[in-house]
């Protein structure tokens, strides 16, 4: 019987791995330039790390891969990390840090997807800025995300903004109890944007006020200022969130980043308390992030503000297929052995070629005619027959130095 790969998983072929490494390296370069430090957290975490904050929705937690460990008789379950941010926040607390930190990571996360047609293992490139609450921190994150995506070669990037503080204040405005608010917020976060329209049906007097905010899409802070002017008296909690949002928008405009304000787009995010942003290219979501000031205190850490973003490697790799294929360089020297007796000499040559920075490999039986130099090794003088790819250059030499000279490598 043919053994198949697990449902919902993905193999990365050498070509796809090339694409992945390209995305990763562009992201790493951007992060390092902006002063972020790389971290890595374990694949296994305790389930209660993710339940303890009360921030992931039941919908998400119901899809984590959890199991009893080999020593799990106490009933304590472990999970395959379903999220990148929460483990980094835990690590920040564990290391006893109190000063601000900029972290980045490239990691896989695991979420069950029932059809098996979508990936259940997803790769993310994420950053977290911990200990900073200013709107310029949020603007920095959007800048790093956009810089990365642009350098990867993605075009037509579109930034959509929403604000968790405003969504919460709106829900409070519908006169919902804290429990109902929580449930409605969960549904919005789980991607059920219909909640808002259902609520507006229940409380028609709010519709007139909220409709412009929910339905219209603004392109600058002026839009928000207008909304604030008409809603302030209706929704007192609204003001602080709105002021914060306005500040961020003004800063983004000042640094020349274009965006669309779409309050109802704040779906699919869980622990966010402030700004929520998503980046699209041609309607494909390629990244997103936001501010999560409550997370670290909920995990038992000090009262520490934080925000972060992740770009999604899987959809991005599909978008850059053409680009990355050109990147893969062929092997440029093949070393062909004539007999077992010349093996030692072949490996010594390979070693020398590698040391001078050339890409060289042992020619396997019946090598295809690919672009590259070819060195045949014999067991008697002259040991090396060197031939260029086009066959125009050819020579028999006795020392490695002469080989290198012919190939143009620096010895």
């Amino acid at each position: 019987m043919r053994v198949q790969k697990c449902k919902g998983t993905r193999d990365l072929t050498p070509r796809q791995m090339g694409q992945f490494r390209f995305v990763e390296s562009v992201f790493r370069d951007a992060c390092l330039k902006w002063g972020y430090e790389e971290v890595r957290t374990p694949t296994l975490e305790y389930l209660h790390l993710f339940t303890s904050t009360g921030t992931l929705t039941p919908g998400t937690l119901g899809k984590v891969y959890s199991f009893l460990d080999w020593d799990g008789w106490s009933g304590e379950r472990v999970v395959l990390r379903p999220d990148g941010t929460i483990p980094v926040a835990r690590m920040y607390i564990d290391t006893g840090k109190t000063e601000p930190a900029r972290y980045f990571y490239v990691t896989n996360i695991f979420i069950f997807e029932p059809t098996g047609k979508e990936n259940r293992e997803r790769w993310q490139c994420g950053t977290e800025m911990i200990g900073v609450s200013s709107p310029s921190a949020d603007v920095e994150l959007i800048s790093v995300a956009l810089e990365t995506l642009r350098n990867i070669g993605l075009k037509d990037l579109k930034v959509k903004l929403s604000h968790a503080g405003i969504i919460r204040a709106l829900l409070a405005g519908f006169g919902l109890s804290p429990e109902e608010q929580g449930k409605a917020f969960d549904r919005i976060l789980d991607g059920d944007a219909a909640v808002i329209s259902q609520l507006t049906q229940q409380k028609p007097e709010m519709v007139k006020l909220l409709a412009p905010l929910l339905d219209m899409k603004g392109a600058n802070a002026g839009f928000l200022k207008n909304q604030k002017a008409v809603l302030t008296n209706q929704l007192p909690d609204f003001v602080a969130a709105m002021d914060n949002f306005i500040q961020i928008c003004e800063l983004l405009t000042a640094v020349g980043i274009q965006y669309e304000i779409d309050i109802a787009s704040g779906t699919g995010f869980e622990y966010y308390t402030g700004l929520i942003f998503q980046v699209f290219t041609k309607d494909i979501k390629v990244g997103g992030g936001g501010r999560y000031d409550a997370l670290i205190p909920l995990l038992g850490g000090e009262n520490t503000p934080a925000s972060g973003f992740a770009i999604y490697a899987d959809p991005i790799m599909n978008l850059i297929s053409q680009y990355a294929a050109d990147e893969a360089a062929p092997v440029n020297v093949y070393v062909k052995n004539c007999s077992i007796a010349t093996n030692h000499r072949a490996f010594a040559v390979l070693n020398d070629l590698h040391n001078v920075g050339l890409k060289a490999s042992l020619a396997l039986d019946d090598i295809p005619s690919v672009n590259g130099w070819r060195i045949e090794i014999s067991d008697s003088v002259p040991y090396y027959t060197v031939q260029s790819a086009d066959g125009k250059k050819s020579a028999k030499v006795t020392s490695v130095e002469e080989v290198l000279k012919l190939l143009g490598g620096k010895s």
Binding site: M1, V3, H48, T51, S52, T53, G54, P58, L61, G62, L68, W70, D71, G72, W73, S74, G75, E76, R77, P114, T115, G182
Partner: protein
């Protein structure tokens, strides 16, 4: 292709039989005496009907072994809570076998309302036969830290000292349970349902069978759907200090052996076995607190520190150790009763008479070997250690013999005489080990000198009583 139907044994059998009688199915032998798991149907001779434990039916229908099935909504929900992608289609509520699932707490604990649960510090532990539904409840409640104890039964024995809550089944509108347990919240009202495999429903013509069930109703029996008795309500006083030894005794068919040993040891018990469902019997043993639970649940419950001592079979200890190799469980004394051997069983017409020959077959096989067992961890380890190629473990809840040959290829079963196995046209190809009841405890427990002495004394009393023969 003929239609396959899974029918329940146990609590739904009588009413299901009445329903199908009224529908004119003319079933042969589907009654409480149930001698054969394969039932002949007079009306539809080409329909294949097999009887399962109710709990197994949603899984059997979901994976497509059966096109139609009848079982309670509670077990359907238990499956759907985790494996919603394979959810069977619920065709009709049959209106009988009514019950409800409750989140319940002890009258003697510190939880009176649902609000109290939210305000608890530390881990909220929930014991239940319905672990998936219990987990969903915990997630919906956004409990910050919880542990689910899946138990084979007797979940009402756990609160308040061994679990914060129990998710248990009771009659609709239940106000009170045995063992001082009170319901806090109704999580699900259930009754018997007619279900279909999703693919069969979409692609297979089941209409001739379904047509006979349309508009057929039976008057539900007045007895409560669940075995939980609502009449009994004692206020249990749990006398316990750091030196108290917490002992678990088994319910079910092991009880008579235990009573026998207790008698020989001169230990007087009150209300064990209990006719009212009391799970905290009294005894003449000083400083010992006794609770009655399922033997299958004991190794885990001793390992996690809920009990100091328990009496359970070596088979269940082995199954536990297969899941948790570094578990602190130790067998303190062999109590010699309840002898069974654990065997690997295949159908008589399988061309293998031993494990080696089965392996040869597995290597050639085009499909995975289906291993059905109540001992899921043990079976998994057995298949792994013996390199049975690609295999799948099918957890069952009893009546495992019925699975061969259609729904499984290999069983890991216990047997005394091998009689049942032979009667079902099956054969034993390997004996894994023999099992008897053992006193079990946890290694490296930091007991006070007084408590350790009490434990040693108890083990000695029981061992001496067994030695009396």
């Amino acid at each position: 292709m003929s239609i396959r139907i899974a029918l329940p044994k146990g609590r739904l059998l009588t009413e299901t039989a009445a329903l199908l009688e009224k529908a004119g199915w003319q079933l042969d032998g589907y009654d409480s005496s149930l001698r054969n798991y394969r039932i002949k149907c007079g009306k539809f001779p080409d329909v294949q009907i097999k009887v399962f434990q109710e709990k197994d039916i949603p899984v059997q229908v979901a994976i497509g072994n059966y096109d139609l099935g009848i079982c309670g909504l509670d077990w359907i929900q238990e499956l759907n809570s985790k494996q919603s992608a394979y959810a069977p289609v619920t065709i009709r509520d049959l209106g009988y076998g009514k019950g409800a699932l409750y989140i319940a707490a002890s009258r003697n604990g510190n939880i009176d309302t649902m609000e109290d649960i939210k305000n608890l510090d530390g881990t909220v532990r929930i014991a239940s036969e319905y672990p998936n539904i219990a987990e969903n409840f915990a997630l919906e409640m956004r409990l910050k830290r919880f542990g689910i104890y899946p138990v084979w039964g007797a979940a009402d024995a756990y609160p308040p000292d061994r679990a914060t809550l129990a998710l248990i089944s009771g009659t609709p509108e239940a106000k009170e349970f045995t063992n001082g347990i009170k319901p806090l919240k109704n999580v699900l009202d259930y009754s018997a349902q007619l279900i279909a495999n999703r693919q069969s429903w979409e692609q297979k013509d089941l209409s001739k069978v379904l047509a006979t069930l349309e508009n057929i109703r039976i008057t539900p029996a007045s007895k409560p759907a669940s075995e939980t008795k609502t009449a009994y309500s004692s206020n249990i006083i749990i006398r316990q200090d750091a030196d108290t030894v917490r002992l678990a005794l088994p319910d079910g068919h092991q009880q008579k052996h235990v009573v026998n040993v207790l008698n020989k040891a001169g230990i007087n018990m009150t209300d064990y076995p209990s006719s009212s469902g009391n799970r905290r019997p009294g005894s003449s043993l000083e400083g010992v607190n006794i609770t009655v639970i399922r033997p299958q649940d004991m190794p885990l419950q001793v390992a996690n520190g809920n009990f100091d001592l328990a009496i359970t079979g070596h088979d269940w200890v082995t199954d536990h150790k297969a899941a948790f190799p570094s578990s602190p469980i130790v067998e303190l004394a062999d109590l010699k009763f309840g002898w069974v051997k654990i065997v690997a069983v295949v159908c008589n017409d399988v061309k293998a008479n031993n494990l080696y020959e089965l392996k040869e077959i597995c290597i050639q096989a085009e499909t995975p070997l289906r291993v059905a067992s109540e001992y899921t961890n043990l079976s998994d380890k057995y298949a792994r250690d013996n390199q049975l190629g690609m295999y799948r473990i099918i957890p069952t809840w009893g009546a495992t013999e019925a699975f061969l040959p259609e729904d499984a290829d290999l069983l890991i079963e216990n047997t005394e005489t091998g009689g049942t196995i032979a009667r079902h046209n099956l054969k034993i190809i390997d004996t894994l080990f023999e099992s008897t009841a053992h006193f079990i405890g946890a290694q490296n427990s930091q007991y006070s000198r007084r408590k350790q002495a009490c434990i040693d004394e108890l083990v000695k009393i029981f061992t001496n009583a067994v030695a009396k023969g």
